[in-house]
Symmetry: C2
Subunit: 196 residues, 2 copies
Amino acid sequence: MDIAEIKRLRELTGVGITDAKKALEESGGDFDKALEAMRKKGMTKAEKRGEREARAGLIGSYNHDGRIGVLVEVNCETDFVARNEIFTNLVKDLAMHIAAASPLYVGIEDVPTKDRDKAAAEFTEKAASEGKPENMVPQIVEGMLKKHFAERCLLEQPFVKNPDLSVGDYVKEHNAKLGENIVVRRFSRIALGEVA
Amino acid sequence: MDIAEIKRLRELTGVGITDAKKALEESGGDFDKALEAMRKKGMTKAEKRGEREARAGLIGSYNHDGRIGVLVEVNCETDFVARNEIFTNLVKDLAMHIAAASPLYVGIEDVPTKDRDKAAAEFTEKAASEGKPENMVPQIVEGMLKKHFAERCLLEQPFVKNPDLSVGDYVKEHNAKLGENIVVRRFSRIALGEVA
């Protein structure tokens, strides 16, 4: 049995060496089968994590007149900071910003490849149809993509209460103030009657 | 030019006959190309609808101690009913129910095929591994699927404030009380530190 595979399986699932070895034996050494079998038994990290990984932080919410609703999860490192007023105010500000500015993603790295590819194809066609020189097209498209997604990523947007600052920079200021790593993990925004 | 295609394009996009004809001419009669071109120009119904289709109703929200957040969109037919206390209380009840009972889908018809197929494959394997007679397996799997998704669909769950009633029946009572069609359109639930 491959020691590296036992190690990798342990890392992925968070189980002990005995369980990892056993799963690989039962799968006849097939790594993917072993992982799938463990997943079915509910032994993987991801499935345990739901209960186990109690990150600190807050779920913030904002409801604008019953017409727009926002949830946002902001994580910090300790419950102590999560209860701090500076932190709770940050969470409130973020929820209100999301209601007003309708971002689609948290950060650039959260844009799914398929959204990026689709936009790239449209921008390429647009640049071509406008008769831009062919050798310039990739650069032009790159610029358009950057602008397009910066407008749709929460952390890149200008903060509504102080547009000189990006939301990302506003969060970073709080990292420093509170002495903990602050992470905007996810959000949800629902507007009445809007097409999903 | 095919009249049926012009008609179909108009239905799908909501544009007038002239625009539909023009789009088909420009695409050389290729229906899919015409539709795609109209989509790019922002001429399709789905893209217009975002602004246009102002359904009545409310976005409800519920925040449990900063640890669980819920949004729910409930539609009715008029703003008059949306402001009625019976309706606003229904929306509150639904948001609290969702926080407590963690549904994953609104109704059975909202379960994506891939979720259903995945569960079906697991249940089939389980039934087989338990040595159930082969000719009984489809029926057993069907029963397991029904139970599995009933537990995860909001409208099928027993209403937390009155478990004798399903949430769907509770909503239907309000249809009757308020004399309007009430539809739970979508919801979002975020719990602190939970794996998405």
